[in-house]
């Protein structure tokens, strides 16, 4: 690990200034990913700006909206009464992520900012366009069992590792951001990026912009929800594929559906077409399979991850069935 300086500003403005004015500075909150990246030499910041003293921890209901401070811990959010009762999909997704110890350290903002777990990204002796643009993609032609089947490019087939973000994508969250030019709101769908020709960019944050919170609008997905995570180990393992499924069912009719996947793309992957297909239909196994079929049409696989197409199909159907069966 390289030498770095460390500051802990007391105000939001001071924190943002510290990063905006220094190309080699990085924010640090829980540090559960950043420290790994620093130890392996992937990221070599010269200054760490610790934001843990900023007043961004609160989880509160503002009218019909749930406001989550960026520094709320993953474990606190998962156990929060309102989250459990009104946004159970989010709670389930959080609990599927990492381990209890990591959830006790990891923050909501940090979770959104975590980088891919692609091995080629972490090993600085290997080619990786995300870590070192124009060095090539190690995973294409390498070991790509864990990699993307949707929205990848010839420069990068890495996946976003978060579970929480899959639920936030499904629930149409909004990311609250403050930077040198003031504050703005980014719809969750537009927060993370697809790799394209610039896989080094994970998201659309500008220089010095800091996530201050996340908002989730009120919804009707309090009952028929399920977060399915398929993984090689029962806990503390990244998803082969995961599915966040939320249904609003009345009188045996799906009034609306939300579906998103993890472990399949460079960002949490919303299944808009499948959602549309389910709207107004009966919650039957056949309809769920039909919707799942729609969702996987655009899949493109690599030598080791071809199984993910079929596994996605089965997992979407399974998650929908589980969601509909309370």
């Amino acid at each position: 690990m390289n030498q770095f300086s460390y500051i802990r500003p007391a105000s939001l403005k001071a924190a943002i200034d510290a990063v905006a004015k220094d190309n080699s500075a990085r924010f640090i909150a829980g540090g559960t990913n950043l420290l790994d990246l620093m130890k392996s030499g992937v990221t070599t910041p010269e200054k760490l700006v610790d934001i843990n003293r900023l007043p961004l921890k609160e989880i509160q209901v503002n009218g019909a909206t749930l406001h989550i401070g960026a520094l709320a811990l993953n474990s606190e959010l998962a156990a929060h009464d309102t989250v459990k009762s009104q946004y159970p999909l989010l709670s389930q997704a959080l609990l599927a992520g990492a381990s209890q110890q990591l959830r006790n350290m990891a923050t909501v903002g940090g979770n959104m900012m975590q980088r891919t777990r692609c091995s080629y990204f972490y090993d600085t002796t290997m080619p990786c366009n995300k870590r070192n643009p124009n060095s090539g993609c190690g995973a294409i032609g390498g070991i790509n069992r864990m990699h993307a089947i949707f929205g990848a490019s010839d420069s990068c087939i890495a996946v976003h590792p978060s579970d929480m973000c899959v639920a936030l994508a499904a629930l149409d969250a909004t990311v609250l951001v403050t930077g040198p030019k003031g504050s703005r709101r980014i719809p969750f769908h537009d927060f993370h990026r697809l790799p394209g020709n610039t896989p080094q960019l994970d998201n659309n944050l500008g220089k010095g912009e800091l996530i201050t919170g996340v908002e989730i609008p009120a919804n009707d997905y309090t009952k028929y929800v399920y977060y399915l995570k398929v993984r090689d180990r029962a806990s503390y393992a990244f998803a082969l594929v995961s599915v966040a499924a939320a249904l609003d069912i009345h009188n045996n009719e799906i009034r609306s559906a939300r579906l998103a996947m993890g472990g399949v793309a460079h960002k949490p992957w919303r299944l808009y077409e499948a959602e549309k297909a389910l709207t107004g239909k009966a919650p039957t196994e056949e309809n769920f399979r039909y919707a799942a079929n729609i969702a996987i049409q655009s899949a493109k696989t690599y030598p080791h991850n071809a199984f993910k197409t079929g596994l996605s199909l089965n997992s979407i159907q399974t998650a929908l069935l589980k969601a509909a069966t309370v």
């Binding site: 390498g142 029962a234 596994l311 997992s315």
Partner: protein
Amino acid sequence: MKKQQTGQSMDRVDGRLKVTGGAKYFADHHLPDMLYAALVCSPITSGTISSINATKALKAPGVQDVVSHLNAPPVPGYKNAEAGAKDGLKIFKDNRIYSNGQPVAVVVANTLERAVYAASLVEVQYNQETHHTDMNASMNKAFQNNRMKDYLRGEADAWKKAPVTVDATYTIPLEVHNPMELGGIIAHWDTPDTLVLYAKTQGVKNVQDTMKKLFQLPEQNITVHSEFVGGGFGMALRVWPMEVATILAAKKIRKPVKLMLTREQMFTLVGYRPNATQQLSLGATADGKLTGITHEAVAITSPYEDFTEGIVAMSKFMYACTNVNTRYQLVPLNMSTPVWMRGPGEATGAFALESAIDELADKLHMDPLQLRVLNHADTDPERNLPFSSKYLKEAYLLGAEKIGWANRNAVPRSLQENGMLVGYGMSSGTFGAYRGKATVSATLKSDGSLVLQSAASDIGPGTATAMVQIAADVTGIQASKIKFMLGESRYPFAPQQGGSSTVSTVGSAVTDACQALLQKLASLGISGPDFKGAEQEVTVTATSQAGKERDQYSMYSFSVHFTKVHVHPATGVVRIQHIVSVADAGTIVNTKTARSQMIGGVVGGIGMALTEEAILDHRFGRFVNNNYADYHVPVNADTPPTDVYFINKKDPYINPMGAKGMGEIALIGFAAAVSNAVYNATGKRVRDLPITPDKVLDNKGNQPWKVENKMTT
């Protein structure tokens, strides 16, 4: 009369120290003026070092030296091997790179952080050569040495003539031991020819002996401390090159140096279970009598050592079969040398043999339990000797009852619970029950307490606890007044803790030493129960080893594993619901620690069956999952209720306690019990470990996923 201690669930004598942090592991030691080492490891997989530029590293804060083949002190024990001879990696002898991750330099600094940072500043240039890390692509290099001769009993390949046959290929991936405690060493040259080591080792005398040869020093000049070890599983059964590198750095700098590996380095520097491919062929009569077994295995090794283990051993004697032939070959690759990993070799072989037996049972429409009993070897067919003790049939029946084997339906996919496919599987395991040679000193203190010393190790099973119990029974002295001291090279000789032999070997020496002590005390007129009256300490030393009984009997421990699994029909995820493991390991000295040991082995077996695989990118010769997040050691959530049962019947011949070994059989065979259960649940036979969801679903490739149903409203 005193309650017999052997067979009790006595608490660990060092349990309190361990849970309160009082136990000192090698890295917990701190010596005055101690420095910290960080390794610079090769990113290439084959070739030579053309230059090392340490200028920047040497200028970095706190750096004392950068030691490599260019400036390391000579090692007198590095013989000039003849061209082509294999005798290990001689670290820092020359510039040759044999495998990725091989240490090329040691950076020594006054803090760990400074050493690690300075290591990143060392500039090394390499001449890269073509490397080979893929066994399948190097099969043309397969060879045998004289430790791995072909075996033939009766007729070769007799299975081909049988009316019912199984002929299948089973593969296991490379597995890494990955104990929680990382490898490393503290090296200190007290004088230019006196070496003190704090080691992570399964055998202090082995380390001492290796150093004696390498540095050509008298034994008394080498002191090795290793009182506590945080897990070994075989990785600490030998001295590794990076330990020698640290010792060389300490010699050059003349200060104590501590090295602790990173998790990533644990994959390339301290051995592994070699990946292997096995062809297992069985022939049987229509009523299930085995008529031929053929077992051919190929596993990997390093370019500079031939690592062999008992992959095909079990197939030779496990079943009564007239015709058996085996072949075992090695493929040398640009990899570091493998080393025994719990259940070594036999665990690899048992996966193939016990899966094939299950496949045969399926073809015969016979219960696999019944098939095993039908072909039970009442005597050892390999050595033509009686077994010293064997209660395998009893173990089969006990395990079957406890798992609820009667609930099993032989037809795959016929049972479901809560939407999950249910399967039952079983397998057996075996491992040689050994007894080596060890010496123990026994000292009666004037207060009537007893101190025993031997250079044994405890990598976790509870060695000292068992020895105290054995000594208590021989002497009649209360267990609380007996202390067994281990992990010091200055104590009398004991072999490494490996091959499930510590209780047998060291326990026998404890027995003999205690009996010798009683005789000596009697001659002094001192007797129990209090043994008071001696004006000074009384010490005796006894050496103990096996006798001719080993030529008259075949000695093996046996295990039986039963599992009940759930398999998700849509995702292929396997979750073990219940495990029953039964050990025929002779007398159980301590039922509590023995149970823990069995559960530990079973957890290792769960990893082998379902989760563990170290994956190489052969283009680079580098591992892509060399960390705890991506190399999946089982976690608690993977580990269901595990019921352990012991036959607990004394072996009349092996040693005075009648205790056979147990560490290995806890794992051996377990993977097949899972794969057989997965087959029973799904009808899918997975012959390639680990059994991950994609293999269970087996929908790789471009299977068309069509819309199967119309939408209904």
